[in-house]
Symmetry: C2
């Protein structure tokens, strides 16, 4: 079994290009992880996800522990085998979904108790159980249990949640000891929109010691500049030789800005969720295919795209599919979005390696700002 | 432009194996046409449909004339280009959907007037307009406008609808004169469940003369034996050198039984619609993947299937996807069903060519009757 490792291969300003090695293969960073909430990327075949350039995907502990159950997946050979994805997999700890989906949450030092959004069953999730579930799933990268808050929140609330998450980080680390090799547990920096709390929490997590660090509790309602300020507070304090993962982010511009500030990994439902709603991201910026301007347009979405779906169908056809609520529309647009996200990450990696990340960033932003080709 | 043609290459009893040639390519018969109602096969990429072995697909005139509109599709280069399907295409005439979907129908000799199920707009469909719409779409095989009834129906009602459809057949033929080459207009035999009316209608249509004949108005609620009896009444009276198309049919057993009685072409939404509802067809008969017996089953659906989706995922995973309403479940099961239908058609073609159709039919039926592998 190969040990889990991370190497920075090149830097350009604060931006880093590197490689994560796991038991299931390598992850080129900066990396974007498509989200397979219920053991499936919505509307896209695993082979298509892989072909788009994804090295790693994310699964949701909350959803999988409720259905079909972690013990069930373990008995079937683990999540990689279950979903036919033999490549690296990261699972979150369930904390974020407990906040956003479950009802009747009760949080205390021991963990969180909640009612399943599927059948109302009462479920307990402790730091130890969160690690156990992720071990059963066989994740290459396991996330500590944390308490996520919506922003804005009171400083006292943020501080309480941060201290609870820190205590859970320590318990998760103990629970993860002795786990099978080639895998890693990441700590999660909390602290809301308070730079001081963020920095304090970062240092405390480093004292515990993790092979990778995530920044959690962002992209939960705050403006982009707040998110970027938090990254600027945290990233410089993180060890240079460990991967840094910004959870649940974001738009293409979020990715560009966060990489510029030293982030290595991302996950977000946006490419597939927006694809299901007629919205695509391309080098021309976001485009809403439900808009009537596309109804008679014979041109492809982007004839320069490396993604066949963006070249082989007219805008008029994609517009028709979204208006008619055809599954194929959601499938093609999700595919186009995932491909664009990976194209963007590949562009960033190449630019950092070539020492021209600032130029790449300026070019990408200028193209987005210039916007879509004019309507006919 | 190649002319439209049909050749019988082999027969075995009443079963025929043959080849339809169209401007967009060949169709091996007996042929099953997946249904792309709104210019898309629900949940399946066109390339996957093609790879499953489909030579031809069906589009629905009723849906396409309402959205995005036949003139729109024509301006975009026709339906083949619109939906990225450069192979043969058949379109129905809209008659069946007017009956099943539209409100406030008024039928008289001139045609049918109805309200769109999408926006309530009043739409007129005459025999001439049905041909015009299909010419605008660029269909390789155009169907005459007919009046479809639900069964059971009064004999007088059936006879009136049959005579109206016959008059429309003649008008469609005149409207189709001068259409671009390599394409064909098929007449449709009506007559409900009355063998005498069916035969009378068949002879009248042959007098008008068409390059192909369909049997319509079946699989609309009547038992299978009634459907087969109608085929037995009509097929022997049809010209041997023209293709015969049984519209809207059916289950794998329906296909086997109808080919045995001389049918060459079929279309049905069943593979994709059932796939969206957790039901698959395989050589082991129908299987409902929502059933709890599959929840912990690590075995693939059918390890002998030529379809990768039937081999690469466990039953437990397919069960999970259907229970969790994941799009990927609908996609994979639709793909598996389309592949099985094409596998069945290929098996029938080979068996007819080898003069062992009865043996093939008995083997397929015996395997379906033996049913699925036992639960673990």
């Amino acid at each position: 079994m190969r040990p889990f490792s991370f190497r920075v291969l090149a830097t350009d300003g604060a931006a880093r290009q590197g490689l994560v090695e796991t038991a299931h293969g390598d992850v080129r960073t900066p990396a974007f992880m498509p989200v397979g909430t219920q053991a499936a990327i919505k509307g896209v075949h695993p082979a298509t996800v892989r072909a788009s350039g994804a090295d790693i995907i994310l699964g949701n502990t909350y959803h999988l522990m409720l259905r079909p159950g972690a013990e069930r997946i373990a008995a079937l050979g683990g999540l990689h085998k279950f979903m036919n994805w033999p490549h690296p997999l990261l699972t979150d700890s369930g904390g974020f979904q407990v906040m956003s989906l479950a009802q009747l949450r009760q949080i205390d030092a021991s963990g969180v108790t909640f009612r399943s959004h599927i059948d109302g069953a009462l479920v307990a999730l402790s730091p130890e159980r969160a690690v156990e579930v992720q071990n059963l799933l066989g994740s290459d990268i396991v996330m500590q249990l944390d308490e996520c808050l919506k922003l804005p929140a009171e400083r006292a609330t943020i501080e309480r949640a941060m201290r609870l998450s820190l205590a859970w980080a320590e318990r998760c680390k103990r629970a993860f000891e002795g786990a099978a090799g080639g895998r890693a547990l990441f700590g999660i920096v909390q602290g809301g929109d308070d730079a001081g709390l963020r920095l304090e929490n970062t240092r405390a997590l480093i004292d515990i010691g993790f092979p990778g660090y995530a920044i959690g509790g962002l992209a939960v309602g705050e403006p982009q500049e707040v998110m970027l300020a938090m990254i600027e507070a945290v990233a410089p304090a993180l060890p240079r030789d460990k991967p840094r993962y910004l959870m649940g982010v974001g738009t293409p511009d979020d990715l560009l800005q966060a990489v510029a500030r030293g982030i290595d990994m991302f996950d977000c439902v946006m490419p597939t969720r927006d694809g299901r709603h007629g919205r695509v991201f391309t080098r021309l910026g976001p485009i809403n295919l439900r808009n009537a301007r596309h109804a008679a347009d014979p041109r492809p979405l982007d004839e320069q795209s490396p993604c066949a779906a963006a070249r082989d169908y007219s805008r008029a056809y994609l517009h028709h599919l979204t208006r008619a609520n055809e599954m194929l529309g959601a499938m093609l647009l999700s595919e186009i979005n995932l491909a664009y996200y990976q194209e963007l990450m590949a562009g960033m990696r190449a630019a950092i390696a070539a020492g021209r990340f600032d130029a790449f960033r300026a070019e990408a932003s200028a193209a987005w700002d210039a916007g879509d080709i004019p309507a006919r």
